[in-house]
């Protein structure tokens, strides 16, 4: 998907993810899968590919991408969501919130950009559009509901690829997207 600018899935596929609980259920299944036998886990893979299946909420990738907390340990995903929401609420106007790799330290960090400014200070890993047009029809002013929902449709596999390219090869995904 990187390097090619097309829309890889039908519009209503995302709608299912944001408006229904399918992927939340999948996360619960995944956690239970950790306790199963290898054979059982393989059987579960098919069930976990939902509605065109490229966008599995891969907990392994997701946890690799969660930034560190101040004490040097990894943030839990819940704490990461809280930190991300804090950053989002700091945007005064239109803008984007990002997970990005710091080019000097190679550490993944949360950052924001204003309006449509591209992310130049970090290598982009995951971007979340916070312009009101992105969520207003469905969530109106209630940004926290949008922020909670969108994690169900973030493409962590793509994020992992960008992260690996950034950390291992110093490749900026933003330079190759157009």
């Amino acid at each position: 998907m990187s390097g090619k600018h097309n829309w890889p899935y039908a519009y209503n596929v995302l709608e299912l993810y944001i408006s229904e609980q399918i992927c939340i259920t999948i996360n619960i299944i995944r956690r239970r899968a950790n306790a199963m036998t290898p054979k059982g886990r393989i059987g579960l893979q098919a069930a976990l590919k939902c509605n065109g299946g490229e966008h599995i909420n891969h907990s392994l990738f997701r946890e690799n991408l969660v930034p560190n907390n101040g004490d040097g340990g990894k943030l839990s995903f819940d704490n990461f969501q809280k930190e991300f929401s804090k950053a989002v609420l700091g945007i005064q106007g239109s803008g984007w919130a990002w997970l990005g790799v710091n080019p000097q330290t190679k550490v993944i960090e949360i950052t924001t950009t204003a309006n449509q400014d591209p992310l130049l200070t970090h290598y982009p890993v995951v971007g979340v559009d916070m312009w009101e047009h992105t969520f207003y029809l469905q969530y109106q002013n209630v940004k926290p509901n949008y922020l909670e929902a969108i994690w169900n449709v973030i493409n962590w596999k793509e994020g992992e690829e960008r992260h690996t390219d950034a950390v291992q090869k110093g490749v900026d995904a933003g330079l190759n997207v157009l």
Binding site: G93, E132, Y136, N141
Partner: protein, 219 residues
């Protein structure tokens, strides 16, 4: 903050902007001068309700919190750190308070530019009322991000000018005469991405009588 309130001579607005004191006086959400559906069909009841009770209320709450923190802050660093919250929430409170009173139902003062000093000044500086609206719409639509379009009075050059502000920055370079909110929450539910439709519609509910009052106070 006090220098901004001097430009707002309306008593209702002055009440809403109580000057800070040792026990910081609380800002409150001003009431709309009309019902939530009064600006239909040009601005929907749904938008007016959310815009006033949620968005504007949030700026009021944010301003109170920021001023409270400011009054309790000890270091200069802390005070500087609070400036962006005061700018954003204070600007949001000012801008929206000005907005509600520069709108009016089309069955009342909305959309009617009476003969008089304001009409004369608009024709002097823009050629005609239609040309003024076209230019205001063009400049407002061209804002890259969130912001406001303004008809403002330049006190030094004694001219009416169209200016824009970004985000919730208050209009400080000019005296505000007419403001138009171009944040997406102001129109998206009704007009989606079609900003020109919103900008054409809003002129039916612009309160030119209030605009003229403001103009006469500063010109």
């Amino acid at each position: 903050m006090l220098s901004i309130t001097r430009n707002l001579a309306r008593p209702a607005l002055a009440r809403a902007f109580a000057p800070p004191s040792a026990t910081a006086a609380l800002h409150t959400l001003p009431e709309l001068p009309y019902s939530y559906d009064a600006l239909e069909p040009y601005i929907s009841k749904e938008i007016m309700t959310l815009h006033h009770t949620k968005h504007h209320q949030t700026y009021v709450n944010g301003l109170n919190a920021a001023e409270d923190a400011l009054s309790k802050s000890k270091s200069v660093q802390e005070k500087i750190n609070l400036q962006s919250a005061i700018n954003f929430n204070g600007g949001g409170h000012i801008n929206h308070s000005l907005f509600w009173t520069n709108l009016a139902p089309s069955s009342g003062d909305g959309g009617k530019l009476p003969s008089g000093p304001l009409k004369d000044a608009i024709e002097k500086f823009f050629g005609s009322a239609e040309d003024f609206k076209k230019q205001m719409n063009a400049q407002t639509a061209a804002i890259q991000g969130s912001g406001w379009g303004w008809l403002g009075y330049n006190k030094s050059s004694k001219a009416l000018e169209i200016v824009t502000t970004a985000n919730q920055n208050p209009l400080l370079s000019h005296s505000p005469i007419i403001g138009i909110d171009i944040w997406e929450h102001a129109f998206y539910l009704q007009y989606k991405n079609v900003k020109p439709d919103y900008l054409n519609a809003i002129w039916n509910v612009i309160n030119f009588k209030e605009a003229e009052k403001r103009f006469l106070e500063v010109a």
